[in-house]
Amino acid sequence: MSENNIKIQRNLWENPWGYVESFFIGFGLMVTGFFLEVFVSTSNTFTLSYPFNLIFLIGYVLVLFVLYKWFASTQIIRWLTKVPASITSIVLVTLLVMIMGIIPQIPSESNIITNLGLNHITSNWAFLLILFQFLTCLGLISIKRILQFKWSNFGFILNHLGLFLALIAGVLGTGDLQRLSINVYEGKPSWIATDAQKNEIELPFAFYLKDFIIDEYHPKLALIDNTTGSISHNNGKNLYLVEKGEKYTFKNFEVTVDEFLPNSGRIGDRYEKVNEIGSPPSAAITVKNIENDSIQSAWISSGSFRYPYESLKISDEYSMVMTIPEVKKFSSDIDILTKEGERISTVLEVNKPFKHNGWKIYQLSYDDKMGKWSDLSVLELVKDPWLPLIYIGIFMMIAGSFYMFWMGNKITKNQE
């Protein structure tokens, strides 16, 4: 029996290592990682920050280079630069990311999930080890192709090296990534930001919010079921915007919008245009019941934080209501005040961040209870010194994609 065993083992780990060996090694790494998760305290996640991550990166690339250059004939390096190792590590990374795609990455009540760390895959030891193997494969293969450079390898290098750079810079960069948020009130300078752990951080410059502006879409019309209170047409989706003069049909009701006021207040039995904080939009509508030709007209309003909404009951079953307007655009007109006494004016908007002193400043949110009357604007500040490296990787991959699209598949072309 022992002889038999030895024979099988020899076959299994015989030169060159194939898929079975690759999966053994991969699963070994994963099991090790999960053991670490269970038995090693995981209260703080493993991250490297400057300068250790930079040292690690340089060291890692040098080691990969040395390994490829002078140890390429060893079993393990030959295995790492061959296809079974690549495909296996792609499959295992896919497997672990799939866990992330199924189990919500939030604190969990299940002991298994918590102990194995399945709800924080990105900082899970199993994932980090598998990713390390993946990056090692990718790095070695990139070095191999660069050292044996041919023009036909160009696309290959762009894709593989690009992915390597983007991934490693992304992983190592988390340690240096700073994300702060700051509440800025109209007419007051602010310079104390908070990080994700709610620590207060003093900024080297201050924000002065001159004006916070919200543009809104018109509100929408909805047909509401009186008993359930839910929207009862189009499955609650794709409602009609309130536009003066438009005519819409809901089931057997024909609704005409006679008047629309974006800012209004109730005065007697009608709404009038007013301009004060909390004045809601309103509309005068005429509803015609097609079945019995009865007609009724009234004012409806979506209400605001100061005033109640008003609906129109059009039958025993249904009412017409006006929804709270959706936000079209919000922006902050700010000044950045530096310690040197400089004053930089800019307008921040979603999708339009502003760069200042190594920080990227984003419009994040506002007091949504107050809506367009909010005098609070929440800004976010992000500093990511590793971004240039990540962008180099991303743009290499974009170029690689164009190359791939243009050149197509090597095998297919060769065998044509």
Binding site: M98, G170, R179, N234, N238, Y240, K328, E380, G400, N409
Partner: protein
Amino acid sequence: MTWIDFPLYSSISISLWILGLLFLLISYKKESIFKFANLLFVAGWLTLILFVIKLWIELDRPPMRTLGETRLWYATFLPLIGFLTYIRWKYKWFLAYSIVMASMFLAINYLNPETYSKTLMPALQSPWFIPHVLVYLFSYAVLAASSIVAIKGWYDSYKGNFKMETLKLADNLVYIGFAFLTLGLLFGALWAKEAWGHYWTWDPKEVWAFLTWMGYLIYIHYRNFHIHKSQQALTILALAFVVLLVCWFGVNYLPVANTSVHTYTNY
């Protein structure tokens, strides 16, 4: 509202296409008929494009937000892919498939009428929006086609007349689709940096998009080094498409859905 015109435009397109498919069928017996089939396909396609343009103008925003709108784009892109593939590889059956699929998507939209909403949340108002979504939809359409090729390959092997040509067509489609998938993913990352301050946040949709990308990555690597193992390659291709479908529709039903910034369908 232009959406009300949809039944008109879509029925014109579908009728022209059905007629074209008949001509295509006849052309297997009589080759000269084929150009009429093509003419009808193009006419139907142009009708659809006209509708998309009108809808876009009317909505005042790119019609790419809801599932129904993406179906419309899918229906618009499939014929294009069919034409291009025909020009390059001369597969009539593939052209027919792309037209049938496009008609099916139009029919689904016809049965689920939507009065398209005009509102667009601030995060979506970006120059990245159109390239990101278009590139993705094109990619999905091409990759869907590649999985149909995989099914044909399976069927052929079952019948015992599998040809390597089938797998080569799949390869070409996967390469084109994967290139676009990569672009879509990276455009998304660049956009996210502008909109949310970070290029990658492991949002559920991102996770599944990444998985889809990895799935096709496995196929490409497998094909490159195991040229003759066609059955396994076909299986990988089919599985990768399952992941793509989860990414496209499935995410909304997974337990992770409510943490996603990509679920706009509730609006």
